[in-house]
Point group: C2
Chain length 311, copies 2
């Protein structure tokens, strides 16, 4: 059994995007085992347990990831993650991986896969709502699959948006109003909001949206009217209904699971797609354990680990 530090420096974004795309392809074919993630809640946060098995990559395991909003004040990341990889043939735990950075990368990668297949253009203006770690990860991953000509960023705290724009100056990034940020080809939303931020009227035809922030019951970033106007592709039906962008509108009776256009895996496999260049498409991301396993495979294959005595 080895412990891996999961350094993002040791794996290439293009490889992560490819691995995550392969995992979604398997998911779209129904070739994975992945029960919906389990939530345990604390006063100060929660943690999620995400087991899966990806036979095509010969990898199985569990990601464990917390969300503790008060951690920044303690000098710790809000989200930390650990992935345990088991040997398929013997069940031996063979790798323990610090998956904190990898979690950000694999979520970015799912946005890149969605943009690759659902955005109607290859040369894009990228709108970004929120300016934290995941906003950075979306930019890095999407820039691998599309030519990012301009970035329009909005964040609740303008200073943070300006710092984000500086970090992404090579893509002509600038801090703008939320309405202006929505006037783009690909929009990514990455906030922890529990209220719709993006109004339906602000989004023009042909826009693709990666709705990333909502990943737990009660969270939402998009006007429910926008969901009804758009073609919504989820990462996983069961998880999205429980905790994705559509979870609150479904509970409120404003959206029905029958309205879901398909899964990202089906899009990758070509069985589902945007209906026309004018359609608005939304990728509703909750984060899948198979994405974590796909990235874990890269880490085990490229990074040196620390040997631990087991069994």
């Amino acid at each position: 059994m080895k412990y891996y530090r999961g350094c993002e420096q040791s794996i290439a974004i293009a490889d992560v995007n490819r691995a995550v795309e392969a995992a979604f392809a398997e998911h779209g074919k129904g070739n994975v085992q992945m029960p919906p993630k389990l939530y345990i809640t604390f006063d100060a946060g929660d943690f999620r347990t995400m087991p899966a098995y990806l036979p095509a990559l010969d990898i199985a395991g569990v990601k464990i990831v917390n969300v503790h909003p008060g951690n920044r004040a303690r000098g710790l990341p809000t989200v930390m993650a650990l992935t345990v990889v088991l040997d398929v043939d013997t069940g031996l735990p063979k790798a323990l991986i610090n998956a904190t950075e990898l979690t950000a990368m694999r979520t970015g990668a799912s946005g890149a896969v969605a943009a690759k297949y659902l955005a109607p253009k290859r040369s894009i203006t990228l709108g970004v709502i929120g300016s934290g770690r995941q906003a950075d990860a979306q930019v890095a991953a999407i820039a691998d699959v599309a030519a990012v000509e301009e970035i329009l960023v909005w964040s609740r705290t303008q200073k943070h948006a300006e710092m984000f724009a500086e970090r992404h100056a090579r893509y002509n990034a600038r801090s703008v109003s939320i309405v202006r940020a929505c006037d783009c080809d690909v929009l990514v939303t990455t906030t922890p909001s529990t209220q719709p931020l993006v109004q339906a009227a602000w989004i023009h035809e042909g826009t693709h949206i990666n709705a990333i922030g909502a990943d737990a019951p009660g969270k939402e970033e998009l006007d429910p009217a926008l969901l009804l106007r758009a073609e919504v592709f989820v990462d996983d039906r069961e998880q999205a209904i429980h905790s994705g962008e559509i979870n609150v509108p479904i509970r409120q009776g404003l959206y029905s699971p029958d309205d879901i256009a398909g899964t990202l895996g089906e899009v990758v496999n070509g069985t589902k797609h945007r209906s026309s260049p004018e359609a608005i498409t939304i990728f509703d991301s909750t984060g899948l354990a198979i994405q974590d396993l796909a990235v874990a495979r890269l880490v085990v294959d490229t990074e040196g680990g620390i040997e631990l005595p087991f069994p």
Copy 2:
């Protein structure tokens, strides 16, 4: 974050019994979070993911445990386990524990707790069906809570039963027929059987049975007629219905969840108990994540760990 080898030498059986009893008491009061374990299946075996939170012990985490019946031929244990402990206040993974031996000990401990509260006598003849690692663990744990005057062991392979009897010579252990082994005060069944082995007619009044082997759908060791004649206490209702001794009879319509007499936690708390000295009682064990966390707390408090870089 520290890695612990989980050596059984470093913790005392009496402490494990006490910790597991405390965990069941919390479970009986409804003071735990513990979703039913998730199963992932392979061609060669399976693994189970078991998250939980025990507020009274300020401990939360996940046990991951496999069952690969072909492992012995590869020189590996059939069952191996790893427990990840998370800090409740920050979600930081603070301990990784080799839980292979600890899993056997905490299962033994639940049998000891059941025998302590449900066996009508303190000085006992112990019947043992099966002679593997868990049979040893049951003996060690029960001997801490009762005077074991004699052990009657039966195993499918007589040679294994004889070796077991030698290991437990200080308790006057001897290899006998299965019918003879059932003529005892406390019976423990620890086989991987998928067919009833113990017939109702062989069990006399006042016997307490720890039914340990059945911990997955399709497994059973006891004649369903025995379940109906007895008072069945489960470790956890949902898990027992899904994968405990009662799972097959329930699926066959021979037993109803309404027939369950209570949980071990309720027995520990005194809200449920055997109805008379003549009753036959059964403890249906599936194994709970809170038992693993209770033992993890002991390990972290007593064993030196290997420091690992995280986050």
